[in-house]
Symmetry: C2
Subunit: 190 residues, 2 copies
DNA sequence: CGACTGACCAAAAATAAAATTTAGTCAATT
DNA sequence: AATTGACTAAATTTTATTTTTGGTCAGTCG
């Protein structure tokens, strides 16, 4: 049996998207990294966008699966949030793709990168909103607009993981977690 | 006595910078709005940048004066913060210049707009940091990195006043204040 | 035979050249 | 002496040209 060329390609493309972003990743480059002819890529993926989509799908699935597992656990809202931050910051692969795409959107505004960012953002915001709503029903969280609160939590996460680095030394994972919890826990909890 | 042409020019330029941003404001346009010849502008300001600087200075002074007045009042940290938000959101002129410049930086990356944003950001962050440090000494605020906390508060403010609007209907002032306080007050206070 | 390849092409992106706009000047005017 | 607006050099925008890249397919190889 011959080697699994599709896996090779996905691996190579993921690596390149994370490192260089969507636009600066060329199909020639992917074929080189994967050690396959360029034509071979097109036997598995109709277009560059479809290849990107599949990688995004995989990342979204991983994120969803992590989030569902955490949501199912019998924990307080704040503990779930803490665990989610932990997962995202410890297992950085998807996080890194997201950060790279966000940077690409900011720097050159690639439309595909924007869609990727939006997709992952949507997933995260939706999950946060639902958790906040549930926690509100259980009386764990003060009454507020769950959409706005989810947005604020997400922006805080972005502020600490990406914006802060523009002017300062990056914060380490524990500092990030500490400060996120500091703001959210007693501020938003009854 | 002839009319105060310098004031006229400053007024016209401020109006134009707020409405169109730094780059899209031309000196011809300013002279038209101010009803003076273009040469007259250059008897008061050496360059377009200097004109911009003076307007920025004025905005910074106003901000500083508001902040100092609030800081002097015998209030809790959170009440001061609440009053600051009130001032900024109610008397929007400086806020609007800041928002316009932030947008210009995001859209076309004008370097002068970036400097303007940075300047006002620096003032605000510095003020917030000092207030947080003092409040920490007074035992009003939990121990934390005051710079990071100031940064987080500032980013939350930006998230609600500008980022939210990209995908949603703008939030009204009271919603913004409510949610800012919700996150900060009990979250950051002992 | 059929999975695989890489030279090839049209379309998109980057770069260069031409045309337009604008910051800043200064001789003329009030 | 203060003010002006036509003027110029420099910067920006638009257009033309060159280069790069996504996608194809005739041919190779196992």
């Amino acid at each position: 049996m011959s080697i699994d060329r599709k896996a090779l390609i996905l691996q190579a493309a993921t690596k390149s998207f994370v490192q260089f972003g969507y636009k600066a990743t060329t199909m020639d480059q992917v074929s080189k990294i994967a050690n396959v002819g360029k034509g071979t890529i097109y036997t598995f993926f109709k277009t560059k966008e479809e290849l990107f989509e599949e990688i995004l799908d995989k990342a979204s699935q991983e994120l969803t699966s992590v989030m569902n597992r955490l949501a199912a656990e019998d924990n307080t809202f704040i503990q779930k949030l803490f665990n989610l931050l932990d997962s995202i910051l410890e297992f950085r692969s998807d996080h890194e793709l997201f950060v790279k795409l966000a940077q690409e959107v900011r720097d050159i505004g690639t439309v595909q990168a924007l869609e990727g960012v939006k997709r992952m953002e949507e997933y995260a915001l939706d999950f946060l909103r639902r958790q906040i709503e549930q926690a509100m029903e259980r009386g764990e969280v003060k009454p507020c607009d769950a959409s706005v609160a989810a947005f604020m939590i997400f922006r805080l996460y972005l502020a600490l993981t990406t914006e802060w680095n523009k002017e300062h030394e990056p914060l380490d994972k524990n500092r990030i977690k500490e400060h996120m919890i500091l703001f959210i826990s007693n501020g938003i909890l009854v």
